[in-house]
Symmetry: C2
Subunit: 623 residues, 2 copies
Amino acid sequence: MKKWIPAASGLLAGFTAATLFFGDFSQSVKTERQSAHAKTNAEKVYVPFGEKDEYYLFASGGHSGQMFIYGVPSMRHIRTVPVFSQDSATGYGWDDHSKKMLGDYTWGDLHHPAFSETNGDYDGKYMFATDVGNSRAAVMNLETFTVRDIINVPNTSGPHCAAFVTENTEYMFLPTRFAVPIGSEYAELDDYSEKYRGVMSAVTFDEKKEKLNISYQVALPPWSFDLSDAGKKISKDWAVMTTYNTEEATTNLEINASQADRDYIVLFNWRELEKMVKEGKYDTVTGQKMIFPEKHKGGIYLVPVAKSPHGVDVTPDGKYFIASGKLAPAMTVFSFEKAFKAIENKDFKGERNGLPVLNYDSVMEREVNPENALGPLHTQFDDKGMAYTTMFISSEIVKWDPNTGETLDRVPVQYSPGHSVAAEGDTVAPDGKYIIALNKIAKDSYLSVGPSHPESMQLIDLSGKKMEVIQSAPVNPEPHYAQMIKADKIKTISVYPKDEKNKDAVYKQEDTKIVRKGNEVHVYGIAMRSKFIFDAKAKRPDQIEVSEGDKVVIHLTNIDFDQDITHGFAINSYDMNIEVQPGQTSTISFTADKAGTFPLYCTNFCSALHQEMTGYFLVKPKQ
Amino acid sequence: MKKWIPAASGLLAGFTAATLFFGDFSQSVKTERQSAHAKTNAEKVYVPFGEKDEYYLFASGGHSGQMFIYGVPSMRHIRTVPVFSQDSATGYGWDDHSKKMLGDYTWGDLHHPAFSETNGDYDGKYMFATDVGNSRAAVMNLETFTVRDIINVPNTSGPHCAAFVTENTEYMFLPTRFAVPIGSEYAELDDYSEKYRGVMSAVTFDEKKEKLNISYQVALPPWSFDLSDAGKKISKDWAVMTTYNTEEATTNLEINASQADRDYIVLFNWRELEKMVKEGKYDTVTGQKMIFPEKHKGGIYLVPVAKSPHGVDVTPDGKYFIASGKLAPAMTVFSFEKAFKAIENKDFKGERNGLPVLNYDSVMEREVNPENALGPLHTQFDDKGMAYTTMFISSEIVKWDPNTGETLDRVPVQYSPGHSVAAEGDTVAPDGKYIIALNKIAKDSYLSVGPSHPESMQLIDLSGKKMEVIQSAPVNPEPHYAQMIKADKIKTISVYPKDEKNKDAVYKQEDTKIVRKGNEVHVYGIAMRSKFIFDAKAKRPDQIEVSEGDKVVIHLTNIDFDQDITHGFAINSYDMNIEVQPGQTSTISFTADKAGTFPLYCTNFCSALHQEMTGYFLVKPKQ
């Protein structure tokens, strides 16, 4: 095909007004190219003003505790939504509601995000996530992109292996990465195998109340549970999770947890576990219903797998689960149907820690070992059912056919991908258009920001014959997984509706008031362009005066029912900032423990007179 | 020129293998187009893997308390660097050093970032910033992109009008947005004009010690000081700042601070103020040297300006300062030379609050009023000395000539720009290639993330005949200003050098140890791929056992002297996470107030065996 180039160049040389010619000709070629030909990578990822991205990417923020929202294909970072960590940009962790949700914690380690699902498809209503650092789970409402509930998960330590939801969001399962003594009591590590347990929690979500709830827990062996996935279609009542350290080592896991040739995939039927709970087959531990499988048999099985597997992923058709072993060169495809048959036939190879072990050969469909592909971690899928596995060590994504094991394509990524995420990749019907590699090492990829580098996400176009990396986007620490949803599935609101039942809300200036009860001061105020009104009848409606030591409760309502008119509220030197979005009422409670004169002001630019949106908080010293 | 299109199309139609032809021809055209012709906007902002952005953008994070680092022209968000707020992603606010720097505060409101300068040019060594929320200043080292010092600025409230540094970083000036009684004592607002003062602090930076220091303060009238700029070249010993609320209103500033037709620009000579301090012409207030201009005359002058000005910007040649009034339609160009002459001739119009007022007509060079341009806020400059002013209300950037007042070009932005930032725009030699509009309103620009929208930055290409918006980038709340520096000026390190003098650091495994002194436990540990070693001689080197109530001090050194190998350290349920970058030693101190068994782990993905990089923190219950 190269022969065309000189021919074309020769043609062009015939024109004397070459510059002018190029000027317009390139325009006309461009127009035709855009319709008839492949776009350049630059054009593929460019979203001109007036158009919008096609997908939302929700990337876990890891130890930042937050969720990062990106647009795809532009890979622009749209917003950081606070989940487990404080965020003064939105006042998250300062206003009473979020402060209470965060409880005793100021940060979290947000691992795997999971959209709510209906019939195995993302429904765009909620996003769930877990905190490995402080053992919590959270739910975010996607009308407002705000967290509605956080629960502590007792008896567990590090729910890394979550959250993945079942086909109709009946459950999300939170198995633990760390084994601890039941109830997290003190127990010596010499007693590890006897006293320590891994725990899987089955968490439900009440959509009406927007509340998470622990339905039951299962006391598993003291192994590390790493990743999980829920079944789909024929396997919808089942879920799978990988294990490592089945050696039950208690130190230097780098070496000691990689001794055995095989670890296990835990295969469980949550309908059966649910039934066991209904039948009372559990013990109560720290207020939780906990199934001890050694006492109450059934519903949980072990499938031997190559040592130290990391990811386990169910194919969109629900027929297979694919485990990837970071220390093994192979992906292993297991068949749910074969597993069901083996369970029915009690085709067991004995027990381990009270759990029946299936025969590897009875469940294994095929082992897939692309040449020189090293460190397979996670697998995603496209609209044709093809699999895409990240190779941490050989730094690439390998496309392969789970039905044949054939390697179809490979693309290098920079560098060391952990997870990858495909468009609608965890649903029963992936979109197949894009996959994003979540790379752990970014050295030399971007402008340096010192010894601590950003992570790197690379967008890969799946629409051509060959996979192609078309954009690289740096990202704050540290996405461990992400999900990508079609943009039109998410329906946000732009203004909070009036809530006449909310007794803290004030919508009319004349209803503002400051109520004093002993040493408590309750303020019912308004934020509006471009002033605060705490008591419309006072000489200075934008002043709050209290006495040193008073307990102060400020309710603030933003009565600008206009899109994008958010107000902030901070008191200088009082270490606080809250936000009121359009129509929203927020409350902040604190003690006036410093006497003096403290300006208060709107922290979120709201109008040309934003700078004038100020007042004073006066704290009269104790006599 | 359009006539060329049909001619070209006719030519192309002569080829039968049109598809193939386009395939390669477009390539050859593209190559030639790239050299000879305008790139598409997509191509202008696309930075392919292997190449790097040309500029760093440091955008203030406003009430997020952080600094956002972007690459230009790609407008990719590279990193969030924590400054005034906690950031668990980097352990900032948890390790002893950063915790001490943050002091009593958990958040800040980061306003104007300013690079250190040498001879009026950004030198790429340090970045300064102020905290409006809790009245602090900070300095960031650009070898490591970490904050090295934070100081509280006593006697002041809300140093909004900062930081802008002088030509050789002799000073940065921090004037306050809010007036408070001297020492922030309690005083009734009825006594505002008598007891309240604005305060300007002159802050110096000791590069060797990496310490900020308040050199002196000036007690100004109780007005709001809004923005400032340092002089350049002929005006290098001077600085300017805008004021509003010279009405000294104490409530409803939206109306009451906009009564007078004129406010002032404060023009001061910092060499003279420095001299006054040397001569002992100050009072001591809360340990600070404070000049009271009503007592010690000289060095400070007022220039009348159209009401409620916001920005004031010194031209690159240092000859003019340009004030923009958000409530006035005009930009006013003032001449430093004229001001110097008027001061020399004592051409004053009387005094205001003890400060001499210059005659407007004696200092004003010209008023510039582009047709229908409303809400001028801030002005930046290009390499030709042309000015670019953001128009908040008419949502555009206007290019104009400060020497003639002529309007040269206008470009709409979406929407309501506050500041803008040009490439090297605050130096004596701006680059002139790009300007970025920092827009306050982003509605409909990006995928919606609920009622709280991102802000929006728009990159404008200045290289063509007409300004052109070529990229739009969403950004977290909330950039109030930014500076853009040529990428090659910043020289980062990738690994912290060994520091044999640091008695907390341990570089050899055999030197790790746990030292117990009464109820104190001091751990000298190592983080390395892929394990923690707290005491190499112990049965379990990755275990720390203490008793309930012990004070625990953990020193942790990352001995992986390799680029991009950062380790984290968290103890489950103990609400802590710190980071050790390659070669770095961090310390965290806390009380073991919860008895039980708590897994500890590396939070920052570091190798294929990162998951195995764990251990246990055991807290023996009190008897």
